[in-house]
Symmetry: C2
Subunit: 200 residues, 2 copies
């Protein structure tokens, strides 16, 4: 793992599209955030000690969130370039039932946004609450899509929907990770994928 001071440009460009940022905010963000490179298959928890105390912006690569249920890993979240992943604190003070572990499934560059930085940002620059609100609305909708996807009864329809929602990453996720995300056995996913390939 290496820490580099750059990497915030991608996030700032993304955020500026949602809400114009002042020079002061940009300078503060560059000063207080840092990026890490994480090799494929690495658990983020193992390279970023306080990973439960920050949110990650994926500059490049692909990261999955997973829970452990009866000693089995279940993929619950997939985040590609220009999206956030991590524990979003609950102001309702309700502890999550499952802890989501994070793992790079490609060599990835992540920008680390510590809670401490986010809290100071909201206080020092109150207008960033607008940005936080918009980001959370986007991520609420992404979570809602994940939630709806997994309730579609037909395994084939779930895979089709996944491909439509995620054209950028549909072939970048190992079958064993994708199968639990789509709520099906690896064999079923493999069969559906082969069948789809045969279609003209």
């Amino acid at each position: 793992m290496s820490e580099i001071k750059s990497g915030s440009e991608a996030l700032l460009k993304f955020l500026n599209g949602l809400q114009p940022l002042s020079k002061e905010i940009i300078d503060f963000a560059i000063e207080e955030t840092f990026s890490i490179s994480v090799k494929k298959n690495t658990l983020i928890d193992s390279v970023q000690k306080n990973s439960k105390e920050c949110v990650f912006f994926v500059i490049s690569g692909l990261v999955r969130g997973f829970i452990i249920d009866e000693e089995k890993e279940i993929t619950t979240w997939l985040a590609h370039e220009n999206s956030l992943i991590g524990t979003i604190r609950n102001p309702g003070n309700i502890a999550p039932t499952y802890f989501e572990h994070l793992q790079a499934i490609e060599n990835s560059n992540l920008l680390v946004l510590p809670y401490n930085f986010i809290d100071r940002l909201y206080i020092q620059f109150p207008e960033t609450n607008i940005l936080g609100r918009k980001l959370l609305a986007i991520h609420f909708n992404m979570s809602q899509e994940r939630s709806i996807l997994s309730r579609i009864p037909s395994a084939e329809a779930r895979y089709k929907q996944f491909k439509e929602n995620h054209p950028k990453i549909k072939f970048r996720i190992p079958l064993k990770y994708l199968a639990t995300y789509l709520g099906m056995r690896i064999e079923t996913l493999s069969r559906i994928r082969n069948k789809t390939k045969l279609k003209p």
Copy 2:
């Protein structure tokens, strides 16, 4: 359906716990929101014409969100007292894949928060962006729980988890609605429920 000017007290009490509200904000909210009573089984879309242009706060009762997939209704969201339900706009301008219909599954009182009111609130009282951000973080986490729940492989474990997460509503949802929410057949849910009842 009847419209009554009261009902905002419950929402204001809930919001004030997250972020103290000024008298001006409270007066504006009382002026601009209204409540509707909806009979059990009624589709909210049928009583609130512009239901896609507002968010609902459940004052009393129980509302479900559902999608239609291959002519079958799939429950995707359950909202009880003191929670919000509706279409959360996506500032990322990505249209949702599925439209979630809303239906009262008990006689319910709902406070209607039109988008138009929410937009003016954010502009006239910028501090309400803090509140919006906190509410969205709470609802992100609730959506995340729904998303994780449906990916737990064992049907029995999904039902157990649902009961733990929702002690207030676990026996208030008709089996046919709960079964699709939990991704299992009605017969399976019925069998699991009877088995659980028999346990000491």
